[in-house]
């Protein structure tokens, strides 16, 4: 049994990398098999289909995102602290799974139904954690009078792109990246006061 599990994990690992580099559609089962030094037909002993692999990648990391954010205690902190913590855990999941994150953000649309709908539903559910933080922050005047939906989308655009430029060999640590992103989202880059 152990061998099967390992092989499946290996397939996923190689697939994450190739799906990221070339895209899901442009990666063939033969490409995958070549990287694993087996024949394409042998892959089907471990996975049901090519899309089966994509599903596993997408929903595994979705699960990581939920597990991380659900550990945040939403009752004992201010909205700005909550937001910083949410950003930090989100960024950590991405950085710990760079290939999977890239696939998650780019290739999910190749999921077939009903998985596609399930995926979109999960994403909306996840967004609600951030919506909640923003609404709380507006209510307590911690945040300005912002458009919640627009701001949630903008926060995600800002923090999701991390997988694109983060390099483990780079000079910025994951914590520094999280801090800088939180800082930009909370305070911006200007030294001047906001004109409202």
């Amino acid at each position: 049994m152990q061998a099967i599990i390992d092989t499946k994990a290996q397939i996923r690992s190689v697939a994450q990398n190739l799906f990221r580099e070339r895209g899901f559609t442009a990666t063939s089962m033969r490409d995958l098999a070549d990287s694993l030094d087996i024949k394409a037909a042998s892959l089907y002993y471990h996975v049901k289909s090519k899309e089966d692999i994509l599903q596993e990648i997408c929903f595994r990391i979705a699960d990581d995102f939920f597990k991380a954010i659900e550990q945040i205690d939403f009752n004992t902190k201010n909205a700005d602290e909550l937001l910083q913590e949410a950003i930090s855990t989100h960024v950590k999941v991405i950085i710990d799974n760079l290939d999977a994150a890239a696939v998650f953000f780019h290739e999910w649309r190749h999921l077939s139904q009903p998985h596609l709908t399930k995926f979109i539903t999960l994403r909306k559910k996840y967004e609600r954690f951030f919506t909640k933080i923003l609404k709380q922050g507006i209510a307590t005047k911690t945040f300005g009078n912002i458009d919640v939906k627009f701001t949630v989308l903008t926060i995600f655009s800002t923090i999701n792109w991390v997988y694109e430029y983060y390099k483990p060999s780079g000079k910025m640590t994951p914590n520094e990246i999280s801090r800088n992103l939180s800082n930009m989202i909370l305070h911006g880059i200007s030294t001047k006061k906001k004109i409202v």
Copy 2:
């Protein structure tokens, strides 16, 4: 001649849409032909190859981005005004070419050499406009002591995602979106003062 030009523009228009929806690799020449009510072989009278279409889409909108940003007068304005204007023209190009922008941001990696290198070089050149604005703003203390490279990347992540959520039928106008994005990037969402 006019007919040929129109047909080529039609091919590009349909291709932008399909490449966006399904991705470059997952869109076949037969898909394109079907949408145009012609046969796949007939496409080759107008275009050299499938990638030829991708190249046109990517480099045309790249040109739009440059034309727009080159019209900004970099000498008579403060860094914060410059940044607002750069963001605004950038967002306008995206909103005026939603399909092409989506292809530009997602499918460029399917370009072959030497076009891929040319594309990346152009993108770096374009980023330099923003680098210049940030450096000027830091020098004049308009911006805080930020990491320039990181901030340029973060600004692009924040503003590029517009193509994903902008809907012409939505309640926010392009100008409002630009203003909100500039506001977030310059001042953030917090009402508190920045703690340095």
